[in-house]
């Protein structure tokens, strides 16, 4: 049976201090807890393969720690592939692109990011289109600069065989009032879309309708659930809303929130989506439990609709 979707897992592992732990047993005996089971990329990649994930999406804030272990990112790629895991792409942030003078800096940063993605063998650069809304929304000029900046960044990606996917966040400066306008105004040759199912729902879009409307621009996904769709402006636009003081979670594993994933997968089948889809479990206390569970859900539940 021909597979259309390749599943990748978003890396929220934070710092992993070892490549491998050949003295695992002695290391385990030091503390005799499961602490020793989460301290090397060898283990993390094996868990990916063990849970049926073919890929991992790298987080840019992990690169510093990764480079202390794998100075040449091609080593990191080879290390992962040896364990049956490919790097599907990397997340990236555009900042200050709403001001014309910041566009060149953003293009330079994109070049550096794309270079890393190419070294890692990735195909996607999923970009958060701007800083937090709380620092002041987009005026007309800000919108036009954001479009231009995304186009410039997209061109750099396309020239290197990498797809830039706009990945909006519910607290981002590009928000509900101008979200669609900017997507439609950007150059479809260079600027694609990474549909983060939870983020667009929290912004206030209807997930399935949004996918149906923009399916030809959507080249990849961040699949995550939420129990808080259509959040009001005063929460989305507040300072630092992402991590809540009382530990409230915006994001849940697929099937633990309220979104209609079966509807979404029916549409993905209708439009014949092919390529990487990244499952993300941002905010889980136990990444492996989330990975094993979502591995089951995408294959045994959603896989019956489209795979």
């Amino acid at each position: 049976m021909e597979k259309n979707i390749r599943y990748s897992y978003m890396s929220h592992w934070k710092d992993i201090p070892y490549r491998e732990i050949p003295n695992f047993r002695d290391f385990y005996y030091e503390d005799k807890t499961n602490y020793a089971y989460y301290q090397s990329w060898d283990q993390i990649f094996k868990y990916h393969a063990g849970c049926g994930y073919e890929g991992m999406e790298v987080a840019p804030w992990d690169l510093f720690a990764i480079r202390t272990l794998f100075p040449d990112l091609r080593e990191f790629r080879a290390f992962a592939e040896e364990r049956g895991v490919e790097i599907s792409g990397m997340f990236h942030g555009m900042n200050g692109g709403r001001f014309k003078e910041n566009i060149p800096r953003n293009v330079e940063q994109t070049k550096a990011a794309v270079e890393n993605v190419v070294l890692l063998g990735g195909k996607h650069l999923n970009v958060c289109p701007g800083e937090n809304y709380a620092d002041g929304g987009l005026d007309e000029e800000g919108i036009l600069n954001t479009i231009e900046c995304l186009n410039e960044m997209g061109r750099v990606c396309e020239d290197n065989g990498v797809k830039l996917g706009v990945h909006n966040e519910f607290f981002c400066i590009m928000n509900k009032p101008n979200h669609k306008r900017i997507i439609e105004a950007t150059d479809p040759r260079y600027v694609h879309y990474c549909l983060d199912t939870a983020q667009v729902s929290i912004i206030g879009e209807d997930l399935c309708k949004f996918y149906d409307d923009y399916h030809e621009r959507i080249v990849t996904f961040h699949l995550k659930d939420t129990a808080d769709p259509k959040l009001p402006d005063e929460i989305r636009y507040a300072p630092f809303p992402e991590i809540q003081d009382d530990g409230h979670r915006w994001f849940w594993e697929l099937g633990f929130g309220v979104l209609d994933f079966e509807g979404l997968f029916t549409l993905m089948k209708k439009h014949g989506f092919k390529g990487w889809a990244t499952v993300e479990t941002d905010g889980t206390p136990d990444l492996l439990a989330s990975m094993a569970y979502t591995g089951y859900y995408v294959r045994n539940v959603l896989g019956k609709i489209y795979c």
């Binding site: 002695d26 602490y35 989460y38 991590i243 003081d245």
Partner: protein, 305 residues
């Protein structure tokens, strides 16, 4: 001698189940209560200049204290409610950058920032690492003598600005002033600047902590009560991420009383040199901070008993 508990004990960086909890404020609100309940009424904070804003509620920067606790006074009140009435000190390790001048300028800027926050927090000491990790210093290593002289001079200037805050220098086992190398340097530094004696770092660098204390004498500014069983046979200190030896995974630091540091000898030496400053426990091994607090209390009771 007064004892404090360091919040460096809380792992904010490395993977472990439940790690995400440390990003939220609720975690810290309860943690302060648990520290107080463990009999520690003073804490030490890692200093964070706050570049990352307040996305995560690590209460180590002015911006987080402002955004999450309504400013320094609000932060101190939360601590006081948890029976923690003193922030004994803050510490940081500068990163290597560029030339000797650039590095020393960055060093001074960083320490000034720390002295500013320490003043607001009512700290008694500020600790700064003598150098970053050896392997990150690149070309600076070729101008070691010039760098150390410039640092000594800078520390003198900073002592003028410290007021009654005790400025201390810590020599990690992975730095250019590791182990006994510290004594010659401190001889050239303004008398007002003290040693930060971190027991585990001293031992790993091949020195006996009690001996080191006697040699430092009345220049001991603050003591960091840490433990270790690690013997650096493969010069791991020169390589990258020395706290995670490539030669074999191990926890380089052990919780107080769980390693091979002779605490009785250390306390005897401290008494001998008439030390009456802060002794701060920093349990970097256990992943359960509550266990770290109780292990610290147990170890101190055993030594003081």
């Amino acid at each position: 001698m007064k004892t404090a508990f360091s919040l460096e004990t809380v792992n904010t960086r490395y993977q472990e189940p439940n790690r995400n909890r440390v990003e939220s404020k609720y975690y810290w609100e309860e943690l302060f209560q648990l520290v107080g309940a463990g009999g520690f009424h003073a804490v030490e904070l890692p200093y964070d200049p706050g570049f990352m804003g307040a996305r995560c509620c690590f209460p180590f920067s002015k911006v987080v204290m402002d955004v999450k606790f309504g400013g320094v006074e609000g932060f101190k009140k939360v601590l006081a409610d948890a029976k923690i009435d003193k922030i004994a000190g803050i510490f940081a390790s500068p990163r290597a950058a560029g030339s000797v001048e650039q590095y020393v300028e960055g060093f001074k800027r960083s320490v000034k920032g720390m002295l500013g926050l320490a003043g607001e927090l009512g700290c008694d000491y500020v600790t700064v690492s003598a150098s970053p990790e050896y392997c990150t210093m690149g070309a600076l290593l070729d101008k070691k003598a010039e760098l150390l002289d410039a640092l000594a001079a800078a520390l003198g200037e900073l002592a003028d600005e410290a007021g009654d805050i005790k400025l201390c220098v810590r020599n990690e086992f992975w730095g250019i002033l590791r182990g006994a190398g510290m004594h010659d340097f401190m001889a050239k530094v303004d008398k007002r600047v003290g040693y930060c004696v971190d027991l585990a770092h001293i031992k790993i660098a091949g020195e006996d902590p009690a001996e080191f204390i006697r040699k430092a004498g009345d220049r001991v500014g603050v003591v960091i009560l840490t433990d270790t069983c690690f013997e650096d046979k493969d010069e791991v200190w020169k390589g990258p991420a020395p706290a995670f030896p490539r030669t074999g995974a191990t926890q380089v630091f052990k919780d107080l009383g769980q390693g091979s540091v002779d605490l009785c000898a250390v306390f005897a030496a401290l008494k001998e040199v008439g030390f009456d400053g802060w002794a701060t426990v920093d349990n970097r091994q256990t992943r359960q901070v509550s266990r770290g607090i109780l292990r610290a209390r147990y170890a101190l009771n055993a030594v003081e008993g």
